[in-house]
């Protein structure tokens, strides 16, 4: 059975409206919150490790740097996906 790139078959011969992809504004709701949460997760993880290992403030600083790095990576990841689509 022949399949066109969109996955429809010969049986669906009648013209169809163009399929819409997921609207991008969902990502806009997500991105801002994820930036903040990434920093909080990194910082929180560092604080927990420091209180557990009594090494304050080494892991707090490392966690903060990793959290900020994760936030920047999130922007790149979302932009990369948007460009690919």
């Amino acid at each position: 059975m022949a399949i066109d790139p969109e996955g429809s078959t010969d049986r669906d011969a009648q013209p169809e409206p163009a399929a819409k992809g997921p609207p991008n504004w969902g990502i806009a709701f997500d991105l801002g919150l994820r930036l903040g949460i990434s920093v909080i997760l990194g910082l929180g993880g560092g604080l927990l490790l420091d209180s557990w290992l009594h090494t304050s403030p080494i892991f707090t600083l490392i966690g903060m740097v990793l959290g900020i790095g994760a936030a920047m990576y999130t922007i790149w990841d979302v932009a990369h996906d948007a460009m690919r689509r």
Binding site: P5, P22, D30, R34, G42, A70, Y73, R85
Partner: protein, 320 residues
């Protein structure tokens, strides 16, 4: 200048408005000022409150809300499938509308959309009904009154499920597990770990925690956004109701003020349900697209068993 303003106000609706504003302000100060330490007429608990327990299993009011939402959805599904016709009536069209809309969006995402469209639509409908349930009269206002230390506190029988972090976190975990499972299914467990480690391998000690935090932030943001929006809406409605109920003796028009906020919450509830469903679909789409670029020959062959887009005339059966 002051006199002319006074005269113009006297001629129009200025005086009643000034009086009403003063009355609302006085009532607001009275309501919001704690009578004793920690006491206020507005009481919205941040966590769900336990109602009873069955053999040690505590049932909270948000669990009652979630069960009611499930029952409403089951009843709707039963009605639609029992009386569905090829040419839908008004009610059938209304019930099919969200299913058709989300199915048409999902069909444009990847060629494997049939595998996850059911989850996306299910999440949307569940969150939508759970959010709108909180706007019904009696929800959050009818319950058991406790007398503790001279204070009266109300434990509502029903609380909107989305205003409980446990519910939203549970839904977010389902989404998280699904898109990680898709990534593992397409890459394999080792391939997924390699994705997390990144390239070049020498950067692994830096990139692995960064990737891990970025993945976990999706889980936290999904759950916190829904909880934050719906809980904030509950607090807003409770505040506006408390203010205007007291002010209604001065200005009967105040009764209509909460209606504006109820309308806004109606929109916010639908938007938040749609955002959650769309983000779920976006995350799964990203997991699939990273593997095969969205529409590859391999993916199309994989879906040959169930090809095609939803038939919009009989879309009740679309989400396979």
């Amino acid at each position: 200048m002051a006199r002319s303003t006074l005269e113009s106000a006297r001629g129009g609706i200025g005086w009643p408005l000034v009086l009403a504003a003063a009355a609302v302000g006085a009532v607001a100060v009275y309501i919001l000022t704690p009578k004793e330490e920690g006491e206020s007429l507005i009481h919205v608990a941040i966590s769900a409150e336990p109602l009873f327990d069955i053999f040690g299993f505590v049932v909270t009011n948000s669990m009652v809300g979630a069960s009611l939402a499930s029952l409403i959805l089951l009843a709707g599904a039963w009605y639609v499938t029992r009386r569905s016709t090829l040419v839908p009536g008004r009610l059938q069209s209304m019930l099919e509308l969200p299913v058709e809309y989300l199915a048409s969006i999902a069909s444009g995402s990847t060629s494997r959309w049939r595998s996850y469209v059911g989850l996306v639509i299910g999440l949307f409908l569940m969150i939508l009904v759970a959010n709108w349930l909180g706007l019904l009269p009696g929800v959050g206002t009818i319950g058991i009154v406790h007398h503790e230390g001279g204070h009266e506190t109300l434990t509502p029988f029903v609380r909107p499920a989305s205003a409980d972090l446990n519910f939203t976190l549970g839904l977010a975990i389902i989404t998280f597990v699904t898109f990680v499972a898709w990534a593992i299914r397409l890459h394999g467990p080792i391939g997924y770990l390699k994705e997390l480690v990144g390239e070049p391998r020498i950067m692994a000690p830096l990139m692995f925690p960064i990737h891990l935090i970025s993945e976990l932030s999706r889980l936290v943001s999904l759950s916190m956004r829904l909880f934050g929006n719906i809980f904030a809406g509950e607090v807003l409605l409770a505040t506006m109701l408390a203010l205007t109920t007291a002010a209604v003796f001065v200005l009967p028009l105040a009764f209509f003020v909460p209606a504006v906020f109820l309308g806004l919450e109606l929109i916010f509830g639908a938007v938040q349900a749609l955002v959650f469903a769309l983000l779920t679909m976006t995350y799964i789409t990203m997991a699939i697209a990273e593997h095969d670029g969205g529409h590859t020959e391999e993916a199309e062959e994989h879906d040959e068993r169930a090809p095609g887009r939803p038939d919009h005339s009989t879309s009740a059966s679309a989400p396979a």
